[in-house]
């Protein structure tokens, strides 16, 4: 069932991504002031949002694990965190490429950039910590606690462009500004690409959580063999 779902999601994402790529590169005109490079926003912003949603979904699964002690929730949370880290890195890299073209520099210690980098570092620490713990329940409990602390920073990343005015552009999407900051056709493409990346993220998380469950199974078999 899970394999079929992954195939369906991957197929859906491929079709949507193909449509989006065609639309953003061949249909939409260049942006007036930023020219061609503006198109990077179609990957930069959706990747950032997918990464952030992932961290909060992982937070929910982590709290569920702490409440019920079911290791399946821990596997799901860990899979989602790993995928979210990848999307957050995509967000940082695409932002950096955009900054090099528009600002002339790869990086600046802006509040949004810094908080996002810190968020990635926290969750990279999470992935490393999981590798360093052999005992599954201890690993799950500590991972859940670290996710809760990490999401503290995710809130700062999310709100930083409202709290602090710095180099990073302010909010442009209609859901935050009420509209008028972005051409509707551009915004529609951005949301469609968000959907494509979200589906890819969900498919990757499903594959990863399957690996986690198998790892847990093998581990319990190994323990049973030793007893």
């Amino acid at each position: 069932m899970r394999e079929k779902l992954v195939i369906v999601l991957a197929g859906l994402a491929a079709v949507l991504l193909a449509y989006n790529l065609h639309h953003m590169f061949l249909v939409l005109p260049n942006e007036v002031s930023q020219d061609f490079i503006f198109r990077i926003i179609f990957f930069h912003v959706p990747a950032g949002i997918v990464g952030m949603i992932g961290f909060f979904v992982a937070l929910i699964f982590s709290v569920w694990y702490l409440a019920g002690g079911d290791l399946r929730y821990d596997s799901v949370a860990a899979s989602i965190v790993e995928v979210s880290v990848v999307f957050s890195i995509v967000n940082l890299v695409t932002g950096s490429i955009w900054a090099r073209v528009i600002w002339g520099i790869w990086w600046t210690w802006d509040y949004r950039l810094t908080s996002q980098l810190v968020c990635v570092l926290i969750f990279v620490g999470y992935v490393m910590m999981r590798r360093a713990i052999d005992e599954p329940t201890q690993r799950a409990r500590l991972s859940a606690a670290l996710t809760i602390f990490g999401c503290f920073d995710s809130v700062v990343v999310w709100k930083s462009i409202e709290w602090f005015r710095n180099n990073h552009p302010g909010p442009v999407l209609s859901i935050r500004t009420g509209g008028g900051n972005m051409d509707p056709d551009y915004e529609r493409t951005l949301w469609l690409n968000f959907l494509a990346l979200l589906i890819i993220g969900a498919a990757l998380a499903l594959v990863r959580s399957r690996q986690e469950s198998m790892e847990r199974e093998i581990d319990s078999l190994r323990r049973a063999a030793h007893v």
């Binding site: 810190v118 926290i122 620490g125 490393m128 910590m129 360093a132 606690a145 602390f149």
Partner: protein
Amino acid sequence: MNLFTQAFAVARKDLAIELRTKESLNAAGSFAVVILVIFSFAFESFSDEMKEFGGGLLWLVFAFAGALVFNRGFARELPNECLDTLLASPLSGAALIIGKAFANFAMLLVVELVSIFTFGIFYNVNWLSEAGSLTIVFALATWGVSILGAIFGALTVNLRLRELMLPVIIYPLMVPILIAAIELTNEVLNHRPIGGQMQWIRVLVASDIGFTGLAWMLADTILVN
């Protein structure tokens, strides 16, 4: 016994052990001084610019020295099954974590005191006239890093790579506290009132309250084993 009485009992125990063995204070204090000496070769130590990045230098030293202190916090309970005994005692998890944080706080403040004197002498910076403001900044920021050190010291105490994992996990979480502390310390070293930088004081207070609240809530979960 209420939570704070229990926490103070844990802190008193840790500080008594530390005063007898001095293992954390000696290591962290001498490490801090060595780092300050090495940095004096890297920078023009008598220039006025020193006041502009003195805060950064000091908090870098405190963060590195802090990791040494935090690593020992729970690790000193491992021999003779002391941690198991503590967990089997009527202490609540929150009292144990907060007590460890109190001990971290006191030890880190001693390291900071040693460092700021060394810094004043080696880098020719007069900070004594601003001792009041500096105390407020150091106290607020040190509590934030101490509570993080206590909770993640507990998280990592049983890990194979404890000494490596603790800094990897806590330094990113410390970033908001370190940024605010560096900005405020620079203001103080330049003899400017910290009242003009209220946003950074708010960041410190919010981090202190937020991290203490999370540590309080998660203490029992983390200390189950």
